[in-house]
């Protein structure tokens, strides 16, 4: 149960990028988990070569990932969105990006499991008889901080409010004096920057191979839709629900059930509340 709650905070961190890019911008960026894994490998390389802390690396790499995201969006925009061909071809584009990242990582680092080292990994604190592993606690706290930061960005800044509006009425946004393409570029960059940190959290929790993205793609989209498209608070709630449900299931029935749980909950929730838990 406690492990599930902690897992939820981490799942929220992983899903924020999808929540922003898919939930608010309406861009089916299925390559998001690959960017997360890319973040994991960045953390791995910096940890191995310079002994840098994984999460600190994730934070330091956010500007790099932001620029990467902005470039990918511009490419997508010029090639597809501007011509109104975003739906199917856009999906193929992001599928391509996913494979390029995954295959590149496999070629460079092989398919062995990679992990990072830090003083706190392996330690735990005891809270009223329940042992809490730092390996899970730290990613959860960072995930909560990321969720809060993104929530404040969206609700308190002019750029953030424009991001929330951009998929609703592009022309109206221009009439407010904002350039929709610029707004989307910023939002996409922020979403990919979040993947840098999420990747660092991922490799702190467990070892990673290039194909780990496949374990997360379903979960990320399930959490986003369950929470309600574009709702950051909803993403957190859905992530915690999924984290708890998965860890209970794996305790009682074994870990192979965990993905079935994601989609089982998603189906039931959508039948009852089609807009998602906190969707507008």
């Amino acid at each position: 149960m406690v492990a599930g709650l902690l897992l939820g905070g981490f799942y929220a961190a992983v899903s924020l990028g999808v929540s922003l890019i898919f939930g608010l911008l309406d861009i089916a960026n299925i390559a998001q988990p690959a960017f997360v894994i890319l973040g994991s490998y960045a953390a791995y390389v910096m940890n191995r070569s310079f002994g840098l802390d994984a999460i600190l690396t994730g934070l330091l790499f956010t500007p790099v990932f932001y620029v990467l995201g902005a470039v990918v969006y511009r490419l997508y925009y010029e090639s597809f969105e501007r011509r109104g061909e975003e739906s199917l071809r856009g999906l193929v584009f992001f599928f391509g990006v996913l494979f390029i990242i995954e295959v590149s990582l496999s070629l460079k680092y092989g398919v062995d499991y990679r992990l990072v080292e830090a003083a706190y990994i392996g330690k735990s604190i005891d809270l009223g008889g329940v042992g809490i592993a730092f390996r899970l606690l730290v990613p959860c706290l960072v995930g909560l901080a990321m969720t809060l930061a993104l929530h404040l960005f969206l609700s308190r800044t002019f750029y953030g409010r424009a991001v929330m509006a951009v998929s609703q009425d592009r022309l109206a946004l221009r009439l407010m004096g904002a350039d929709p393409v610029r707004i989307k570029t910023i939002a996409f960059g922020v979403g990919i920057a979040a993947a840098s940190l999420a990747g660092a959290l991922l490799i702190t929790i467990a070892p990673v191979v290039p194909s780990t993205d496949r374990d997360y793609i379903g979960r990320m989209f399930a959490i986003t839709v369950l929470g309600g498209m574009g709702s950051i608070a909803g993403t957190l709630v859905a992530a915690v629900i999924l984290g708890v449900a998965e860890s209970l299931m794996s305790t009682f029935f074994g870990p192979s059930w965990s993905l079935a749980v994601s989609f089982g909950i998603l189906l039931v929730a959508l039948a009852v509340r089609p807009a998602g838990l906190l969707g507008r």
Binding site: R161, M164, L171, A172, L175, M176, A178
Partner: protein, 237 residues
Amino acid sequence: MHDVDAGYGAVRVLHHVSIEVREGETVALLGTNGNGKSTLIKCIMGIVRPEAGEIFLETDGTRVDLTKRPTEEIVGLGIAMVPEGRRLFPKLTVQENLLLGAYRPQARGDIARNLAFCFEAFPVLRARRKQLAGSMSGGEQQMLAVARALMSSPRILLVDEPSVGLAPILVNRVIGKIKELKERHHLTVLMAEQNFNQATKIADRGYIIVHGKIEFEGHSTQELREHELVKKYYLGV
């Protein structure tokens, strides 16, 4: 706006249209549906590009060519538009819609003052500021659309068909508020409207547009009222 031709693809909507709006004036653009009022306003905002002709904004002796600027830059110059059909962000709250209206950097410092003014002018918006814009009634949405445009501290306000889809009593109220706002803010207003009686209540003068051509320029509302086109189209004489 001088000698403007504009249209959509092969269809030309505006033919050699020239109009002028001077500082502090309220000018009505009258015409029934499908005569090019909205297209004219869209040309000013850079949403529709003219095929020929010039559109200029002159302030303090400087002259800016609007036909070469993207819409968001035109908004940045201090021209706000209340679009036909309101075009609010339906899944954002009233307050979020208003704050987006203040996106223009020059307006961000005035947010508190402008917000207080909008809430005073339209108290219903204050009461519903946490409500999603899409869940309000048509009249409330129209008030929000006007208020949102005012949040950008505009010098020029373009209003496209404020009366469409509203009950007569609400039309009265919205038009009355536009007049009040105009006087208090020293706004320049260009209002496209098919409802002749409402528009002439607040206009200083106006143009009548028929089939994409300016058919008549009335230098006062009296002149407009007495013109035969108005009698023909609106008064049923």
